[in-house]
């Protein structure tokens, strides 16, 4: 990356951070445009108004939660249930925030946007790639975050337009949510290796399904497994 300056001023030239962020975010570009397009297509076929797709990608900006949200809103779920399910699904983002407390402490005016856009992929990228020499790390992180969101919004718009214009036979596309959760679950097993949380919460889900039926199982299952997790806390923390 060329960082020589013409005026003898210290500091990187304008645009250096953006130029460094572009190649760094290329893998996310591939992933976000494709999954964003699938999201747009799914929303367009769900009966929700089309404006909801870009609105979600701009202001919610959480892939799995957006897929889940389409299903919940289309099935007529209540606001409290939608909020609780979204909060719990995105609980993993708290880990990202906790590990970036220090990193983002000096980001100034960019901080709110950096915090708001800390998705799975952005966190993964920012915790592995750092700004090249001569590039302001805060600017670099800002551009990585902003480019990633622009890819997501771009994909969403493309999918929504395609779904709104042409009549695709999208039956079965909703399985992408199941597939996404399966992938996220496998990724979790690489971070949390103890089988206990999976078994405990699986048992809670099965019990809630049998006792309350498919439509009312979600929150009781999550509540029960939360209680069970805290009951198992000593065991989990000593064994890791």
């Amino acid at each position: 990356m060329e960082t020589t300056d013409r005026n003898g001023d210290v500091g990187p030239p304008p645009g250096a951070a953006l130029r460094a962020a572009l190649p760094a975010t290329f893998p996310v570009f591939l992933g976000y445009t494709t999954i964003g397009a699938a999201f747009g297509l799914l929303l367009a076929s769900s009966g929700l108004p089309l404006w909801a797709a870009p609105a979600m990608s701009l202001f919610v900006y959480a892939g799995a939660a957006q897929f889940m949200g389409v299903g919940l809103i289309a099935s007529g779920a209540g606001l409290a249930e939608i909020a609780a399910a979204t909060f719990l699904l995105n609980l993993r983002h708290m880990v990202y925030g906790l590990s970036f407390l220090e990193t983002y402490s000096r980001a100034g005016a960019r901080k709110p946007y950096l915090v708001f856009t800390l998705t799975d992929e952005t966190y993964a990228l920012l915790s592995t790639v750092s700004a090249p020499p001569g590039v302001d790390p805060d600017r670099f992180r800002f551009w990585v975050s902003a480019l990633n969101q622009s890819y997501w919004v771009l994909g969403t718009l493309a999918g929504t337009l395609a779904g709104g214009l042409a009549a695709f036979d999208t039956r079965g596309l909703e399985f992408s949510l199941t597939a996404l959760f399966t992938v996220l679950l496998i990724e979790q097993t690489r971070k949390v290796r103890s089988p206990l949380p999976y078994l405990a919460s699986g048992a809670c889900a099965a019990a809630a399904y049998l006792a309350l039926g498919p439509s009312r199982m979600l929150l009781p299952a999550i509540g029960a497994s939360g209680i069970l997790l805290f009951a198992l806390r000593k065991r989990l923390e000593t064994r890791g």
């Binding site: 900006y61 407390l101 919460s201």
Partner: protein, 106 residues
Amino acid sequence: MDNLRVLASIAAMVAATAATRALPFLVFRNRKVPGFVPFLASYGPPAVLTILTLYCFKDVDWLAAPHGAPEAAAAALTAALHLWRRNTLLSIAGGTALYMLLIRIL
């Protein structure tokens, strides 16, 4: 569909998502992080994701034909692809494509 209800639902999602992202920065700006927070943040996600994954299968009728075969096969393919290549896009596309195919031919 009622625009106002969709708008309110999205607003609820915005608030819930922003809360998970902003809370650590707002609450622990100058304070030590209490032990239960990292515990919940690291053991909550595997529990919630287990439940949400199972929840996706809640409407499958295992007793009537085709006995959940498309769901089971597509989930197995998704998992196998992901364990093999660890490429999120490939895993999701492969599993979803198989599911879309199976529900049309079975």
